[in-house]
């Protein structure tokens, strides 16, 4: 049943956005793809509610968001740990753990603290939110003035109202099996599929690249992650601007890698050493500035199998 009520945004927190799997088919017009930063966590959130993988959800970055249910809703929280709790109309509080479906009754609040592990949490609702899509997606890409609640690329604001489908059927609580819940604090070594201009980097530069422990820089966002650490040096020559695949690792003249993420520009002229394996990217976006990462070469065919398996799992509900 369609309803005008749903979830009321009492506090949008540090920043929260409507996202789905991204906007495709418009790259040749220059539109960024956008989409959830951590498709694994977002995939689980929809899975827990038996939603199809493409349903819209809220990506809460860094935390502090607060919502109120305007009708009974079935929800799931995944991704970063933000110590969520339910606030009863009486003011009484009840902790709500991640990684399981639950019911938020009409009039109850759902409050998130600051992220203590990971960066981005996902709040999904049974059936997804009722958002008008632009070019097949509601993904918010601020830089492109597209997506989100009003279609113009705004982040969620206090006082926004997200319409959802009222859920009257009984919820059967589903949980993510413990062994599939990632520990965002564990050390991360990213698999690299060597591609693009990889052969133009000297073996010394490559050896350095795989040896250095990099730190995630503060100038990181949904477009890309800047790494700091020892420079491997750049290439002597620029390249002709070309399409940038998700997870591309650019090495500009300063020799410090930039990993390009969902909101990246469509074209770029910096040399690239390869791409981060898709199944490792979701762990990367959960790291915050100051955390360390490393790289290691990986085999494309193995990564394709791993990614395909994941796609099949999360695409089982239509």
């Amino acid at each position: 049943m369609k309803s005008n009520s749903g979830l009321y945004v009492l506090n949008a927190g540090v920043f929260s956005q409507l996202q789905d799997l991204g906007r495709y088919g418009q790259a040749k017009q220059g539109l960024s793809q956008g989409g959830v930063g951590d498709p694994l966590a977002a995939g689980w959130a929809n899975y827990l509610l038996k939603n199809s993988a493409d349903k819209s959800l809220i990506e809460i970055s860094f935390g502090q968001a607060e919502f109120i249910a305007e009708c009974d809703l079935q929800l799931a929280i995944t991704g970063a740990e933000m110590s969520a709790f339910i606030v009863m109309p009486s003011g009484q509080k009840k902790a709500q753990s991640n990684n399981r479906s639950f019911v938020l009754k009409k009039g109850q609040g759902l409050k998130f603290g600051f992220a203590s592990s990971g960066v981005r949490a996902y709040l999904a609702v049974k059936g997804g939110f009722n958002i008008r899509k632009k070019y097949g997606s509601c993904s918010t890409v601020t830089r492109n003035f597209i997506g989100g609640l009003d279609g113009t690329g705004s982040n969620l604001k206090n006082g926004d109202r997200l319409s959802a489908f009222e859920q009257l059927d009984r919820l059967i609580t589903t949980k993510i099996p413990e062994q599939f819940i990632p520990d965002y604090n564990s050390p991360l070594t990213l698999g690299v599929i060597e591609a693009y201009q990889c052969e133009y980097f000297s073996s010394r530069q490559k050896a350095m690249f795989y040896n250095i422990e990099y730190t995630i820089g503060t100038q990181s966002d949904r477009m890309g992650l800047r790494l700091t650490g020892k420079s491997i040096g750049g290439l002597s020559k620029g390249i002709i601007s070309e399409g940038i695949a998700l997870g591309s690792i650019q090495i500009p003249a300063d020799g410090l890698p930039i990993i390009l993420l969902q909101d990246r520009q469509t074209l770029g002229g910096y040399p690239k050493i390869g791409c981060v394996a898709r199944c490792d990217l979701n762990l990367l976006v959960q790291k915050s500035a100051g955390e360390k990462i490393r790289f290691k070469p990986t085999c494309l065919a193995d990564q394709q199998q791993r990614y395909l398996q994941r796609l099949r799992f999360f695409n089982q509900f239509k």
């Binding site: 790259a27 040749k28 599929i193 070309e242 695949a245 099949r312």
Partner: protein, 231 residues
């Protein structure tokens, strides 16, 4: 020609490793071929000066099948077989004036040409759309006559106003929206080139031609143009 696997679901076709205007016809043609052959197994396609990024759906088609298909498409497309009549010519009005073309005086000084000569050279040339990207509706146009080639600003401006017509080396472009940018601004085009409510959202496709028409202030203002002072 090379086809590179970039990651789990993307290939990059390197049609050439140099910029050659004749390539844009071939690339535009190939894009249409690939769109037709991959159908709904194609997720996204990003053509540029000399490359095409092909993003496919791993759930719908196997990587090897895609690679074969791309190889066949490229090999069967010779420059001669490309039908050239399919691309359009877009005419864009430009108000070339120091009030909106902030870098005209510097360009005049650097090239030794008068502002009138610069305008003449820029608006007499027919450009090709070699790529669309960087920002929505930003078309990379070539080839700017050598006499008015000028390098980008060493440090980009924080805001280049929407509509700014600018030069960077042998390329020219119209900034579709306010954005940071380092290209040298010589005028302003009052026509909106990026509208999310239109389909397609921009008039440009790779392979199209663009011709600029010099207009006077009253037409510029009538078309909705605005004079914005440099901050």
């Amino acid at each position: 020609m090379k086809i590179l696997a970039l990651n789990e679901d993307c290939f990059l076709i390197q049609v050439s490793d140099t910029i050659d205007l004749a390539l844009t016809d071939k690339i535009a043609f190939l894009v249409k071929q690939i769109e037709m052959q991959l159908g709904d197994a194609l997720v996204d396609i990003t053509p540029s000066y000399s490359t095409i990024l092909v993003h496919y759906n791993l759930l719908k088609i196997a990587p090897l099948v895609v690679e074969n298909l791309l190889e066949t498409a490229v090999l069967s497309t010779s420059l001669n077989s490309v039908f050239k009549g399919q691309n359009k010519v877009i005419e864009l009005p430009v108000y070339y004036n120091v009030s909106v073309g902030w870098d005209l005086p510097a360009l005049s000084e650097q090239t030794g040409l008068s502002i009138e000569q610069i305008i003449q050279l820029h608006s007499d040339t027919k450009y090709r759309v070699c790529a669309v990207g960087f920002a929505p509706g930003f078309a990379f146009l070539a080839q700017v006559p050598a006499a008015i080639n000028i390098a980008r600003h060493a440090s980009p401006r924080a805001v280049v106003p929407a509509g700014s017509v600018a030069i960077a080396d042998a390329q020219t472009a119209v900034y579709p929206a306010d954005s940071p940018g380092g290209w040298q601004i010589i005028g302003n085009c009052p026509v909106k080139l990026f509208d999310l409510n239109n389909d397609p959202i921009t008039p440009f496709a790779i392979g199209d031609s663009v011709k600029f028409r010099s207009i006077l202030l009253d037409e510029f203002l009538r078309l909705g143009g605005q004079i914005i002072d440099e901050k």
